[in-house]
Symmetry: C2
Subunit: 329 residues, 2 copies
Amino acid sequence: MIKIAIDAMGGDNGPTPIIEGLKLALKHDRHFEAILVGNEEELLPLIPSKFKDRISIHHASDVIGMSDQATDALKRKESSAYKAIELVKSGVASAYVSAGHSGASMSLATLRIGRIKGVSRPAIATLMPTITGNTLVLDVGANVDCDPINLLEFGIMGQVYSEDVLAVEKPLMGLLSNGEEETKGNEITKAAYKLLEPLPHFVGNVEGNDIFNGAVDVVVCDGFMGNVLLKTAEGVADTIVTLIKNDLRRSLIAITGAVLMRKVFKNLKLKVDYAEYGGAPLIGVNAPVIIAHGKSNAKAIKNAIFQAIKAADSNLNSHIEEKLKQFKG
Amino acid sequence: MIKIAIDAMGGDNGPTPIIEGLKLALKHDRHFEAILVGNEEELLPLIPSKFKDRISIHHASDVIGMSDQATDALKRKESSAYKAIELVKSGVASAYVSAGHSGASMSLATLRIGRIKGVSRPAIATLMPTITGNTLVLDVGANVDCDPINLLEFGIMGQVYSEDVLAVEKPLMGLLSNGEEETKGNEITKAAYKLLEPLPHFVGNVEGNDIFNGAVDVVVCDGFMGNVLLKTAEGVADTIVTLIKNDLRRSLIAITGAVLMRKVFKNLKLKVDYAEYGGAPLIGVNAPVIIAHGKSNAKAIKNAIFQAIKAADSNLNSHIEEKLKQFKG
């Protein structure tokens, strides 16, 4: 039975959406148990009796707040994040899920659980929606300054994750650049291109729009670029929705239209709703670590837990180690 | 009377949309003349007699194609782009507009017209739509690898352009980064932050979504990032439109709704349609240079010409020179 350690305290809205999400996950999947890490007194009344055999509580008296320094995470040994990570490190749990301080989770996971052999820097990956499915983009924030070898590792880790966790056969991978030609790129991406070239199913450079048109399964970039483009994509989507809503308010005829189009918008929301994907995996550490958004609702938490289970159920990390050995030279 | 030199041959669809756009511009603005540079035989029959006194033709026998090397542009002295740039260099025309090979236009403008005193590298700027107006983003492709001083210059040039050409009072300017805090950024942007800090109306770091929410008037980034985020934004917008259209096809009720919502979508298109803004100015060269998209329609060309006129009618370049002297130390 897979055991998932869940930081129950870190999210923006406290334990409630975390536990609601866990309940949804427990209903849908009978093959895992959860260890909720956090304030026992606060958590106990929230757990329904029907799940008492599959949920245990591991007490933690401290919580790392969203505005706390990530650099202090290692010292906050009584925090829910620290204690949940320790459960994974000691082997009591096999994966970690948190909607808390993402920097704290990243540094605790990297330093306490440790990196997979051959990985210089773990990367945060995220799924972006396309018309037909989605694209895994990494790194989206763990590593602001990257060298070409970091980008090679991201390419390898992304392809293995796509294959082993997302069940994509022969995932196509591209390097994000300012043009498709091999000569395009900045100094670092041009050097990374040479390193990525020997990898099977590397398609070469891809452009910003290729993230959303399904041209590839995996897109590699540094964490500075990844963070900016994630927020750019959200900004464009929000702006379009706001423009439509503003116009709707102005026009009675359009309101009638909008009612009829409700189903269409609902489908659209389903495809661009990040809660669909749950959290972002930190790939490259010795156990599955899923970092959910601080504002995660129950559905997002449920999907984050499913991602953790799928990863824990796979040979992801040994495959990454093997492939790094083969291609990192 | 302002004279605009227009490369009539370089666009993807030949001279027709260029001349149609010019006709629209001539109708709306009586205070400029155009010099169409290109094949005289081909152009002459396209010019209506009523505009013969305001359009002259400057013959050029060669055209730099979209797939030609930008590095050859300086040798292609009979090309429409080269000859149009020479008209600006010699003072016969006061601005340049082209929908042709953008790399060729950039290098010809930089090397033949020359840079403004104090500018190390000219930058391509583009207007991105927001809910209430638009944001000027630079650089979006001229400079793939940038140092902190380049970014300082982009900030200065962007603010002056915003003030002098776009008529924004006290334009707010931000540095694109992976978080708002001063400590965020990669090595280059952190160093650029320090250089930008003394500039009036510098708000600090901004994030990807701030491009579209109207938080600032000017966003500074390197050309690699700028290119990727431009294409990311287009990709998101295209994906959303496609998702809506796909759903519409499936549902008769939604089609009825869509008819009613036509006006709403038309407004939306107006706001996200890049033709509204015309072309992208190359800021930092000694005369206004507007680079339009190869696929520009007549409306885009009209607006590119208007941008060129506004810039030629302003004190943009002397203001940039002054401000660089003041803040570049």
